[in-house]
Amino acid sequence: MRELSAPRGIWVIAASYVLALVLTTWPLPQWAESFRPAWVPLVTVYWCLWLPERVGVIVAFLAGLLVDTLSGTLLGEHALALVLVAWAALWMHLQVRVFPWWQQCVVVAGILALNAFVLFWVDGMLGYTLGAGTRLVPVLVSAAIWPWVLQVMSRAHQRYHVG
């Protein structure tokens, strides 16, 4: 393990997750529900790409448990999906950092498709096969808003010297 300096601005990471959770459960009209971006995976991808020393699979796992509790899914379902998201982001974080924004979007789409697939797979095993056709819509929406997420998150990241 790489030795680490004292953590700074951990509260920014926590705040980003709280905001993501609020946005995840914010009530939307029925038609807009299937366009809701996957906020928590997006935040996880950001931190895993740009701050892999602090945010990794364990933070992803804990965030996943909170999502499971908030959304009423099986305990561990979102946790599993987010651990895989974090793993994928960490695995290629050095490459993705130097990608132009549109290539990053493609990578994010891939990672979030993995997330959606895990959720769909677990739901399918439980007998919830609803919305099989619309599961990819949030993935595309999330990938499309990635440049803005990146902007906002890196502003906060630099402004508060999170490290």
């Binding site: 009530p27 009423g72 305990l75 651990v83 490290g163």
Partner: protein, 302 residues
């Protein structure tokens, strides 16, 4: 500093920060949690702790709505209050008149039931709860209410609204509980057709306010508009509460069963107030024949 260290890393696809072992451990833990939660439903403490952690998030999300309601109450004009009061008073009078008849009918029903030696109807006490405006998993029909095990809410409790069955409590955390609506695709409710007494199952589907009745034979006596009520079989719901109205009945000679759908009686997509139901006596449990061999010790209630 960190930048220099990172440059020393020779390979692009560094697996160092992830730690294959740690990732594997987390994956195993998630899967174990899921299996354990699904098989036994015995992770109540963990759930309760996590629910307390996320409660502020639910409160934040619900804040604008409750603030609006509160402001609406505060800023209501005198005239609108008087109008509402008059309307409520006339409503109470009408309902009182209906109740007079109800008391007589109940007596008569009791006498007839005694004659037939049938079990008495289940009555109980109800208490109000408010649905929090938090969006849950979009592929399930769940809501969160603002009453929890601190208020006596228990798992499997029946939830009603002014018009009929809303669903049942599937998780009772200390400060809030999760209610699975009758229209959830994973739910089935034991019903009977009020007019004919035909007993069947109603299961949820993708639509929020729709139920499917998959086991109605083609020869069944059923028509659109028929009221379906809980039959009380299975012991999950008290008998005799409205569940829905038949909206579509189509005989299909090519198939063993007819295509039947119903609209839920409860106002599932608009209502915010629900009623929690505490039966005055335990709901009658149906005795199941003994199983040949115990496969699972405890089974999660559906």
């Amino acid at each position: 500093m960190a930048v220099f260290r990172r440059q020393r890393s020779p390979q692009l696809f560094s697996s160092r920060p992830a730690g294959a072992l740690r990732t594997l451990l987390m994956i195993c833990m998630s899967i174990m949690l899921m299996v354990y939660d699904h098989q036994t439903g015995r992770l109540k403490q963990i759930h309760a702790a996590l629910a307390t952690v996320v409660w502020p998030v639910q409160a934040i999300v619900d804040a604008p709505h409750s603030l609006l309601t509160w402001a609406g109450d505060k800023l209501a004009t005198h005239r609108s209050l008087v109008a509402e009061n008059t309307q409520l008073r006339s409503q109470v009078l009408q309902q009182d008149a209906a109740l007079q008849q109800f008391a007589a009918l109940q007596q008569e029903n009791q006498r007839l039931r005694d004659l037939m030696q049938a079990a008495a109807q289940i009555s109980g006490r109800v208490s109000e709860a408010t649905i929090l405006s938090a969006a849950l998993d979009p592929y399930r029909h769940l809501v969160v209410i603002d009453k929890g095990s601190h208020d006596g809410v228990y798992e499997g409790q029946t939830v009603l609204d002014a018009f009929g069955i809303v669903g049942q409590v599937t998780r009772a955390d200390p400060l809030a509980s999760e209610v699975t609506l009758v229209s959830d695709p994973g739910q089935a409710i034991q019903v009977e057709v009020n007019r004919t007494g035909l007993r069947t199952l109603a299961v949820g589907n993708a639509e929020l306010t729709q139920l499917t009745l998959p086991y109605i034979t083609n020869s069944a006596d059923l028509k659109e508009g028929d009221l379906i009520v809980t039959s009380g079989l299975g012991g999950h719901y008290p008998p005799g509460y409205p569940v829905g109205y038949i909206t579509h009945f189509e005989r299909d000679p090519a198939e063993p069963f007819a295509h039947v759908t119903a609209r839920t009686a409860a106002d599932l997509n608009r209502g915010r107030e629900v009623l929690l139901f505490w039966p005055s006596q335990p709901l009658p449990q149906v005795e199941l024949p003994p199983k040949p061999a115990p496969v699972v010790k405890t089974k999660k209630k559906k």
